[in-house]
Amino acid sequence: MRIIKFKEKVMLESKLKPCLPGKEYIISDGYLSQITEVVGQNAIEGIYPFFEVAEKKYNGQDLTDKKILIWRTGGMGDLCFITPNLKYIKDNFKNSKIIFGCGHRFSYGMMNHPHIDELIQLPIDKKYLDEADYYLMFEGIIENNKEAQTKNAYDLFSERFGFNLKEEDKLPILGMSNESLEQAKKLMLNSDNKKIVGLGLKASHIIRSIVPKTLHEIMQLLIQSDIRIALIGSKDDAEVANMLPFANHPLVIPCYKHSEDYRDAIAQISLLDGLIGPDSSPIHIAASFKKPIVGLFGAFPSELRMRYYQNATGMDARLPCSPCFLHGIGTCEYSHPHTKEPMCMHIQQSELVVREIMMLMHYTKPPLASKNLSVLGSP
């Protein structure tokens, strides 16, 4: 973590509020290099070390009538791992106030969250730290932590909070945009009453993504079973969808084309009967609705992510090199010579995956698999 000051008003991203001269901002080391590239050295007045403030660092203290600043630089999955702790705070500490900071792209996924009082974006304006009674950040909690190779992500995050959550509470909690939900209903629901299975198109790195060949086989089997398929992702995932021969089949709903941000993805996933996906945010979002899930894993064991999910199955590749715990920085040594897809994602078995999601959907009792889920969060 660093503190950065700018000489002039700078726009780091078009949709972000500008950073103002003279003010101090907290940034991660990774983000620092991006900022330097975007604004150039001349716009930066100084970069200083971030010194932890021991008396403000949170580790389970009483938050009654207190304000806590929490931030995380990771992706949507990481934010999901934090969310049950936000509920714990609100349930246990009266009049506590939560200021939550995350990257711009992922902030949409945290909008309407029932337990966040104020949502802010990275880089964090240091005034929020100065005004807070406590703060908590999670730098290196997964990416540079050996313990993350043996301990479930929900346990890692709750231990950082100093909380001892019940197993049944270790589930993500997300808010819902009513506008996105209405759009998703128009897109996805019709009168045929067929089951809808979501298919996660892509993870943030190829090392965790389902290979197109397997996606195609899964789609083929689902279509043969007269099940509708929702292709879950963002508009950026069109390149994957374009590789799928059944992408334009009448039973396929191209949700990714209608997903402007995470609010849409959350709404779309809430309407599914089940989800098949790689080690990526859609399975965590689906877990917040207790949807039947089949997760395809290679680099990381599914147990470290899905252990507490309901009606969930992890398909773990078992090769001599797995689990390798590679985060996607660089490429797997045993990847396909041309496509760079790792071996572990090549050996996943489509038939087994489809059979399992159908079993989970069949045996999951309503209302969990119903489309009439209650909406979380504020209207």
Binding site: P301, S302, E303, M306, R307, Y308, Y309, Q310, N311, A312, T313, G314, M315, D316, A317, R318, L319, P320, C321, S322, P323, C324, E333, Y334, H336, P337, H338, M343, H346, I347, Q348, Q349, L352, R355, E356, M359, L360, Y363, T364, K365
Partner: protein, 147 residues
């Protein structure tokens, strides 16, 4: 692509010819390491025996993978063996047989068979299927083949 001759049956009998239930954890790991050495030797000596070697690795994993404890041993051992897998891949490179087909031939055609590991999971080929908090009345994966 032409692979060389298949491994001799005598060698197959030697590989994995043990009763893992009577072994301690250390013995199982030692057995796996011995096996890997043997697999590498087979590849170095016979070139085209990779498929058989990997299939045997898979079979050995099955034998070790009947309980949670044993699975853990398999996983730990597998991590230890990364450098040895690297040796295998280097041997393949030297033999000039690393190409697109390596995936289809070696890693996707290994024996497919359900083996229960506990009430929540099963091994199918090279995939460990683990259920987390499943519906209470869902059939065990072992029985799924008949459904």
């Amino acid at each position: 692509m032409a692979f060389a001759e298949k491994p001799k049956k005598k060698e197959n009998k030697e590989i994995g010819n043990f009763d893992n239930r009577k072994m301690s954890s250390d013995e199982r790991i030692a057995q796996l390491e011995n096996f890997m050495e043997h697999a590498i030797s087979m590849i170095n000596n016979q070139g085209g025996a990779l498929q058989a070697a990997m299939s045997k690795i898979s079979q050995l994993s099955f034998k070790l993978g009947k309980t949670e404890e044993e699975l853990h041993i398999v996983r730990v051992s597998n991590r230890v063996q990364r450098d040895k897998l690297d040796t295998i891949m280097k041997s393949l490179t030297e033999l000039g047989i690393i190409d697109d087909q390596i995936f289809d031939i070696v890693f996707s055609k290994i024996e497919t068979k359900f083996l229960p590991i506990n009430s929540e999971g099963a091994i199918n080929g090279n995939v460990l299927m683990r259920r987390y908090n499943p519906p209470s009345d869902i059939p065990h994966p072992e029985k799924m083949m008949q459904i």
